[in-house]
Symmetry: C2
Subunit: 383 residues, 2 copies
Amino acid sequence: MKILILGGDGYLGWPTAMFFSKLGHDVKIIDNFIKKKIENEEGIKPLFSQVPLMERVKLWNKNINKPISFVVGDLLNHRLLYDVLDEFKPETIIHYAEQPSAPYSMKGRDACFFTQHNNVLGTINLLFGIKKHCPDVHLIKLGTMGEYGTPNIDIEEGWLEINHKGRSDRVLYPKKPGSFYHLSKVHDTNNIEFACRIWGTRCTDLNQGCVYGLETMESKMDPGLSTSFHYDHVFGTVINRFICQSVIGQDLTVYGNGTQTRGYLNIIDTLNCVNIATNNPAKVGEFRVFNQYTETLSINDIANNIIYAANELGIKTKSKNLENPRVEQENHYYKPKNENLLNLGLKPTLINDNVLPDMIKIAINNKEKILKDSILPTIKWKI
Amino acid sequence: MKILILGGDGYLGWPTAMFFSKLGHDVKIIDNFIKKKIENEEGIKPLFSQVPLMERVKLWNKNINKPISFVVGDLLNHRLLYDVLDEFKPETIIHYAEQPSAPYSMKGRDACFFTQHNNVLGTINLLFGIKKHCPDVHLIKLGTMGEYGTPNIDIEEGWLEINHKGRSDRVLYPKKPGSFYHLSKVHDTNNIEFACRIWGTRCTDLNQGCVYGLETMESKMDPGLSTSFHYDHVFGTVINRFICQSVIGQDLTVYGNGTQTRGYLNIIDTLNCVNIATNNPAKVGEFRVFNQYTETLSINDIANNIIYAANELGIKTKSKNLENPRVEQENHYYKPKNENLLNLGLKPTLINDNVLPDMIKIAINNKEKILKDSILPTIKWKI
């Protein structure tokens, strides 16, 4: 199958490209390297210095039948995008090409404007490109569980059967996102659902939880194939941050009282979920949402898990509470559904399936490279 | 009160500016004239040639104590916007500054991109400008009833008390907009609600129905003070189109079977509603929605009303059905609420309160100027 991966240089995009390439698919990547640009702006970098995409692709292609190809380009450049769609004629598009940091989007006007401009208008270009050049393609769009916020009712998968004053309807699940980044994903959801409704576009929107983990079957084949591992306050998710803090002797910095609960999944499961969606495409005109996470954990749960796993490896660490830089609910109800992917065969890897020791060992082996000043939050929601 | 009107050269912006100026308020206008630019692109123009804003403001200021001031500028130019907010320090901002045509937004990629870029990112700049320079200002944002679409349940005012599996929450009313223009308004709603929640911004979102009518108390003072009257397929709403068709001998072109029902209001009531919102501001951190329409009518109701009113003036006309260029439901349920503004004192002017004969007479007096080819729809939702 011809698979186009937008944002194919990213934390998830690159492992996804290798994964589908190894399965024998014809994979093409587009990336504009904006994440690398933001790394420079913010003075952060991933734990390992990554091989540049061009070299990484060469390294990968040495041992594979159908080489991965790539295009340096931006979805905001609609002519370039249209050319790629017209020439490659993808059957599946996996869309990771968005500015992915909530804190960055809250930094100020410029960063917020950039985030919504890049994410929302890039996706608008994609929708028109699909309509013109490959209307039958299956679009797999990465959304986020953060679109829902933390409502006081159960979180369904994208849609909600609603009963109101004796009448009923099926509506997009009401959203309460917690940052301008998360808002950009909600705008995308609304724009894409409309394209499906009006033009017959086919879309699976994967509302993904926080992803952790580093290695995949493919990345293990050569150290030069590694994906990026961020532990900083801009791109690093909480598990990565806590692991790096544990190995450099920093207390694990819990924002607020640590009761904030979210969905999490291992990077291995991201690949499995995207594969399941690819093999079970949405129908013509269908806007389908899968909640893509395997377990819900509070910040305190995560801290306790990491304290325990580090202790087993001989590292004593503890957590401490920081004033929450974000505006978010604590002590909240959280019950999201994730049956769609499980029903299609997902076998979850959970955080206690011996995942943390391996991650901690990698952090130990690279502890000299950790930039200690890049972990504590400097961006506040209220400023 | 210091009132800043964004989009103050528009169909509603200009009458609003005169209205508040006459009441003794200190009024400043910003406009970027993009609607005039689109008129040229599309080969359309309003029924009357309008006096340019600069001259119109001079004419108005002759007989008024506090002159209206104006700035030519674009909300996408955040430095200009910030300067105006910092220097003028408005107490109320009335935000009409958006590309207002649903058909235009559906014309193709360029027009869609322009619409969401202008509307969503202009409003992002405004939110950051308010936070920085006038955080206590009351933002009155013009939304649209079209954000809701035509759900099979009653339409509440912006928020919905939801019961689901034995639990309850108050959520933003789920939206199902019918064009990329309407989507831009939904994106605005979501961004603004977040700003209220996080920063304490104060906002009244007026979800307005289709506005009809031409003259206001102020515009009647001098023909040079008229607002724009569009009857074309891009900016003209159905009432204006049908009135112009009736006087030039065209059948009234009903899209689809004509059962599509929407909320409508007279331009006089728009001014009254905005005044009510101004005098009863939202609280700190409150995101409040008022559904701003006075009656619901189907396309067939409107056609029949205009056929009757034209007949009384000696004009025989009839309707005919066109294949619907839009993708929208017919024979649908439609029961929106509008109690908030009524409870605050709105006294509706209804379509049968002798409004149509006056509009038809104006059209008769200007029938030679009507561009017959600009009325039939050329933009289709599905292309």
